[in-house]
C-alpha cells in the first residue's frame, strides 16, 4: 500500500519546486529562540507597529490635511456651527460618522502609546543585561534610532488632528525649533513655511511625513534590525549547556511560531479592547485650536512627558549679548536635554567597552547584578530622565496634594542633580549585595560546621558563642578580579575553538591573556601534560586548558566569586576611624 501523503506535503513541494528554497526554509524552521519573557518586549513593539500600519491606512482614507476654515455640520451637537479647520472637522467626522471609525482611531492612538512603551522597556532590557555589547552594538544603534523616530512619529500623529491640545503642542515645537541658537528662527520659518501659524502647506507636509516618510524608514530599520538578529542569533542568559558559542531554546517550528502568533493576537486583543472600551483623546471635548486659546492641566501623550518637564524645569534666563539672544530658553529643555539623553544612549556601547576594557564578543547576557557599576550608572541615567518626566506632571501633584507648584519646581531644580547620585549609590550597593552576598550569613550562625580532621575522619566544630567558627575559606584568584579571570577564559575559549590548533602555542596564548588584561602580565600560561594551565602570580592554578571530545575547553579551577563565602578583608579607612573613635570614647568614660 502506498502511504497517503501528509496534507502539508503539497505545500512543501510547491515551494521547493518554484524556489528551490528547502534549505533556507529548513534553516528558518530550525531557528532557535531562547525562552525568556523579556525577549517578548521587542516582539510586542513589532506587533504594535503592524497594528499602527493597518489602522493608520484606514484613518488616512478619511483624514484631510488642511487648515482651511470650515463650519462643522456633523452629528456632534455641541460643535455644530463652530468654525474649525478641515483637519479637525475630518477627524471628528471619522470618529462619529464613519462606522467603527472611533474604534479604529482609538485603537491607533493606544497602539502608538503601547508601541513606544514596548520600545522603551525593550531598550531597558537590552541596556541592563548588556545585550548592546559587541557584535550587537550596531543593532542597538538601529533600535535607538527607531525610538527617536517613534517619538517624532507619535508627535506628528496627534498634531495632525489640530485640536486644542495638539495645537498647543505644535506651537511649543515651533518655539523649540526657533530656540536653536543662531539659525532657529530661519529653521522654524523654513519648516512651517511662514511665521506661526505657518503656511497652508504645513498640513500636507506633516501628513506625508507621518503616513509615508517615517513609516517607510521605520519599516526599513525594522527589517535591518531583524536581519541582524538572524545573523547574530539571539543572546541568552547563563544556564545549563548555554555557552558563548551556542543558543539553547525552542525552535521556530512549530511551538515557537504558535506562541509568537499567540502573542501577536494578544497584542491586537489588548489594543482593540483599549480602543473600544477606554476613551483616549476625545478631541470634541477639547475643541479646535486657535492661537489665542490654551487650556490648563494639559498633558501630552506619555512619551513626550520628559520634554514638557524639561521645558518647565529650566530657570527663566536667556544669555543676551549686544541685544542678540544667543540661547533662547526652550533650547535647554526641548533640544539640549533630549540630545544629551540620546547622545549618551548612542555612546553607551563605546563607553561600556572603555570602562570594562572589554573588546570581546558576547553571546551570554549579564544579569543586572553581575555588573553593579553598569547597573548603577544606568539606573542613575534613567532616574535623571524619570525625574524630568515627573516634573512635567508637577501641576497634577499640586491639584492632587496641594503642594505649592513653585516650591516643587525649586526643589527639583536642585534635586535633579542630587537624586541621580543617590540612586547611583543605592543601586550600586544593592546590586553588589545581590551579587556577592548570597553566600554570606546575615545574622548570627545557625548551623554546624563539619571539617575533615588532620588525622583522618571528621570533626564537628561547635561555635563558642553563636559566632561562626573560623574555617579557612577557599580563596579566589590573587592579583586579578573574578571578572578579569572570566574575560581571560572567554578569550582563550574563543581563540582556541576558532583556530582549532593541534598543538598549543603557549607563547601566543600568553600574549592573548596579557592583552585581555589590558597589557598587564598578571597571569601566566604554562604547558602541562594534558594541555596548559593558567597560573596567578603566587603560582595558584586558576584554569585548565584541556582537549576533550574534539574541542578545546578552558575550565575554571577556582570557584567563581559568587560561590565564595565572604573572605576576611582589611578594614576600610572608615572602619578603622570608627574603631579608633570607639577606643577613645571608652577611655574617656569613667
Amino acid at each position: 500500500m502506498i502511504p497517503r501523503p501528509h496534507p502539508t506535503d503539497d505545500a512543501v513541494r510547491f515551494v521547493d519546486d518554484r524556489l528551490g528554497a528547502s534549505k533556507a526554509v529548513k534553516k528558518a524552521l530550525r531557528y532557535v529562540f531562547p525562552d525568556h519573557w523579556s525577549f517578548m518586549l521587542g516582539e510586542i513593539a513589532l506587533y504594535c507597529f503592524a497594528v499602527l500600519v493597518a489602522t493608520g491606512i484606514f484613518l488616512a482614507l478619511f483624514y484631510s490635511p488642511s487648515d482651511s476654515d470650515v463650519i462643522y455640520r456633523g452629528v456632534y451637537e455641541p460643535l455644530r456651527g463652530a468654525e474649525v479647520s478641515e483637519s479637525f472637522g475630518s477627524v471628528v467626522n471619522l470618529s462619529f460618522d464613519v462606522p467603527a471609525g472611533l474604534l479604529i482611531r482609538q485603537t491607533h492612538h493606544w497602539a502608538a502609546d503601547v508601541f513606544v512603551a514596548a520600545i522603551v522597556l525593550h531598550l531597558l532590557r537590552v541596556f541592563f543585561t548588556a545585550a548592546f555589547r559587541k557584535p550587537r552594538d550596531v543593532n542597538y544603534f538601529v533600535g535607538v534610532t527607531m525610538l527617536g523616530l517613534a517619538l517624532v512619529e507619535g508627535f506628528l500623529g496627534y498634531s495632525l488632528v489640530d485640536d486644542l491640545l495638539s495645537g498647543m503642542g505644535l506651537v511649543i515645537a515651533y518655539s523649540v525649533l526657533m530656540s536653536v541658537p543662531l539659525i532657529g528662527a530661519q529653521a522654524a520659518v523654513l519648516v512651517w513655511g511662514d511665521a506661526w501659524p505657518g503656511s497652508p502647506e504645513l498640513w500636507p507636509r506633516m501628513f506625508i511625513v507621518h503616513v509615508l516618510v517615517i513609516p517607510l524608514i521605520l519599516g526599513g530599520l525594522i527589517a535591518t534590525h531583524l536581519t541582524m538578529i538572524m545573523r547574530h542569533h539571539h543572546t541568552q542568559f547563563r544556564g545549563p549547556r548555554r555557552t558563548e558559542h551556542n543558543v539553547v531554546g525552542t525552535p521556530l517550528w512549530p511551538a515557537y511560531a504558535l506562541r509568537s502568533l499567540g502573542l501577536a493576537a494578544a497584542v491586537v486583543a489588548v489594543l482593540v479592547l483599549l480602543g473600544g472600551l477606554v476613551q483616549i483623546n476625545p478631541i470634541w471635548e477639547w475643541g479646535p485650536y486657535h492661537t489665542a486659546d490654551a487650556t490648563n492641566g494639559a498633558q501630552p501623550d506619555w512619551y513626550l512627558g520628559w520634554l514638557i518637564g524639561g521645558l518647565r524645569l529650566v530657570f527663566g534666563y536667556e544669555p543676551v549679548v549686544f541685544g542678540y539672544t544667543l540661547v533662547p530658553n526652550p533650547f535647554w529643555g526641548g533640544v539640549a536635554f533630549p540630545l544629551v539623553v540620546f547622545g549618551i544612549l548612542y555612546a553607551w556601547p563605546w563607553l561600556d567597552r572603555r570602562r570594562e576594557r572589554d573588546q570581546a564578543h558576547h553571546q551570554l547576557l549579564d544579569l543586572p547584578r553581575d555588573n553593579p557599576r553598569r547597573t548603577a550608572l544606568g539606573a542613575a541615567l534613567f532616574a535623571w530622565v524619570a525625574i524630568v518626566f515627573f516634573v512635567g506632571a508637577l501641576d497634577r501633584i499640586y491639584f492632587l496634594l496641594g503642594v505649592p507648584y513653585e516650591g516643587q519646581i525649586w526643589f527639583w531644580r536642585f534635586g535633579i542633580f542630587v537624586v541621580p547620585v543617590l540612586v547611583y549609590f543605592v543601586v550600586r550597593r544593592v546590586t553588589t549585595e545581590l551579587s556577592v552576598g548570597r553566600a554570606r550569613v546575615l545574622r548570627g550562625w545557625y548551623g554546624q560546621t563539619v571539617r575533615r580532621a588532620p588525622g583522618g575522619g571528621f570533626e564537628v566544630l561547635t561555635p563558642p558563642d553563636g559566632a561562626a567558627p573560623s574555617v579557612p575559606a577557599p580563596e579566589g584568584p590573587k592579583g586579578v578580579t573574578d571578572t578579569e579571570l572570566g574575560r581571560v577564559i572567554n578569550a582563550l575559549t574563543a581563540t582556541l575553538n576558532d583556530q582549532r590548533p593541534e598543538r598549543l602555542d603557549v607563547d601566543r596564548l600568553q600574549s592573548l591573556v596579557t592583552d585581555s588584561l589590558g597589557g598587564e602580565e598578571k597571569l601566566a600560561v604554562v604547558p602541562d601534560l594534558n594541555g596548559a594551565q593558567v597560573l596567578d602570580t603566587r603560582g595558584e592554578r586558576l584554569a585548565d586548558i584541556r582537549f576533550a571530545g574534539g574541542a578545546w575547553t578552558v575550565e575554571r579551577a577556582v570557584p567563581a566569586r559568587d560561590e565564595l563565602p565572604a573572605s576576611p578583608r582589611e578594614p576600610t579607612r572608615g572602619e578603622k576611624a570608627r574603631a579608633r573613635a570607639r577606643g577613645a570614647w571608652r577611655k574617656l568614660r569613667p
Binding site: 530550525r30 531557528y31 462606522p99 467603527a100 557584535p135 498647543m168 511649543i172 532657529g184 528662527a185 530661519q186 522654524a188 520659518v189 523654513l190 511662514d194 511665521a195 506661526w196 545573523r231 547574530h232 558559542h245 539553547v248 531554546g249 525552542t250 511551538a255 515557537y256 504558535l258 506562541r259 502568533l261 499567540g262 502573542l263 501577536a264 493576537a265 494578544a266 489588548v270 482593540v272 479592547l273 483599549l274 480602543g275 473600544g276 472600551l277 486657535h290 492661537t291 489665542a292 490654551a294 494639559a298 514638557i308 521645558l311 518647565r312 530657570f315 527663566g316 536667556e318 541685544g323 539672544t325 530658553n329 526652550p330 529643555g333 553571546q363 501641576d395 507648584y405 519646581i409 575553538n497
Partner: protein, 305 residues
C-alpha cells in the same frame, strides 16, 4: 580551505516531548470556535451600527480567544522541543585578510595619494558650503516675518465676536481676549489679553504711565517662552490677597506680573510680555495707542532688537 565542520550551524535536539493531550486539543478547538463566534458577532454589530464599546469588545474578545488558542496549542498540543544551535564565530580571519587586500589593492600604483585626498577635501568643503549657504537667504525674510504685528496707533480692539468694547465691559479682576479689528486672529502678534486691576495698584515704568485706562492693561497673549496662549489671570478679590495678581501660561507655568509691565515673576520665560498702549475714543471704546512694546511670541536671535 578551513570550513566549519558538518553539524555546526544546525540545531540539534536536546529534549523533545510529545504532549498527546486530548483535553488540550479540545480546549484549543473550543477557543478557536469562541474566536469565530466573537468575530461573527463583530460583523453583526457592525451591520447594526452598534456602539464603539460593543464593537471593541467583540473584536477584542475574538483576538483574545485566538491568542489563548495559539498559546495553548504552542505549549500543550504540539511537540515541545529544546534544541541547541552551535554558532560559528562571526569573524573569519582568512576572508577578512582577503577583503583587506582587495581594498588595499585599489591604491596600487598611485603615487600622489596625499595630493588627491587634499584636493578631495577642498571639493567636499566647497560643495558643502555651496549647498548649505542658500539657507541664509531665508534670514532677513524670517526676521521681518517674525517681527510683524497688526497693531498700529488708532486701531480698534475687538473681542472674540468682533465687537468693539470699553473698560466698562470689564469688571475688577476680570479679563478678556482682544484682537486688532479686521486683522488675522491666528497671527502670533494679534491676540492681546486685557485685565482689569485697581488703578492705584499699577506700577508701570515711567514711560508707560498713560498706557492703562481705568486700571485696564493690555499685554500680548502669546507667552514669550514657548508660544502658548497666556490664558489664566489670577486676581484674588478677597483677603488673603496673596499670591499677588498674575498672568499665567498653562503650558509651562510662566508667570507674569500685570501691574509692572508684564515682568516675569516665575517660570521658564525670560522676557516680559510685550505691552499694548491703550487709549479710549469718544464713546469710551478701546483703541491701540501704538504698537506692542516688544516683539511678541517665543525668543530667537534678534527678538530683542
Amino acid at each position: 580551505m578551513r570550513r566549519r565542520p558538518p553539524g555546526q550551524d544546525e540545531a540539534t535536539t536536546w529534549e523533545r516531548e510529545v504532549p498527546r493531550s486530548g483535553v488540550m486539543e479540545g480546549l484549543v478547538a473550543l477557543l478557536l470556535a469562541v474566536a469565530g463566534v466573537c468575530a461573527a458577532a463583530f460583523a453583526v454589530l457592525y451591520v447594526l451600527d452598534a456602539s464603539t464599546q460593543l464593537l471593541g469588545l467583540s473584536l477584542g474578545l475574538a483576538f483574545a480567544a485566538l491568542a489563548a488558542a495559539l498559546v495553548v496549542a504552542g505549549k500543550r498540543v504540539v511537540p515541545q522541543e529544546t534544541a541547541i544551535l552551535d554558532k560559528p564565530p562571526l569573524p573569519d580571519p582568512e576572508e577578512r585578510e582577503e577583503v583587506r587586500e582587495l581594498v588595499r589593492d585599489a591604491g596600487e600604483g598611485v603615487s600622489r595619494r596625499g595630493l588627491i585626498v587634499g584636493a578631495a577635501g577642498v571639493a567636499g568643503c566647497g560643495l558643502g558650503a555651496a549647498l548649505v549657504l542658500p539657507i541664509a537667504s531665508l534670514g532677513p525674510g524670517a526676521d521681518a516675518r517674525l517681527a510683524r504685528t497688526p497693531w498700529r496707533r488708532g486701531r480698534y480692539l475687538v473681542d472674540e465676536e468682533g465687537e468693539r468694547f470699553g473698560p466698562d465691559d470689564l469688571a475688577l479682576g476680570g479679563f478678556l481676549t482682544a484682537f486688532p479689528e479686521g486683522a488675522d486672529k491666528e497671527e502670533v502678534g494679534s491676540p492681546v489679553i486685557l485685565a482689569r486691576l485697581r488703578s492705584q495698584e499699577l506700577d508701570l515704568p515711567p514711560e508707560r504711565r498713560g498706557w492703562a485706562q481705568d486700571g485696564v492693561v493690555a499685554y500680548s497673549k502669546i507667552c514669550t517662552h514657548a508660544g502658548c496662549a497666556v490664558a489664566m489671570f489670577r486676581y484674588p478679590l478677597y483677603p488673603p490677597q496673596t499670591p499677588p495678581p498674575a498672568l499665567v501660561c498653562p503650558c509651562h507655568y510662566s508667570t507674569f506680573d500685570p501691574r509692572n509691565g508684564g515682568e516675569r515673576t516665575f517660570g521658564p520665560a525670560a522676557r516680559a510680555l510685550p505691552q499694548l498702549p491703550l487709549m479710549l475714543d469718544a464713546q469710551r471704546r478701546f483703541v491701540a495707542g501704538g504698537p506692542l512694546s516688544g516683539r511678541p511670541g517665543p525668543s530667537y536671535l534678534t527678538v530683542r532688537k
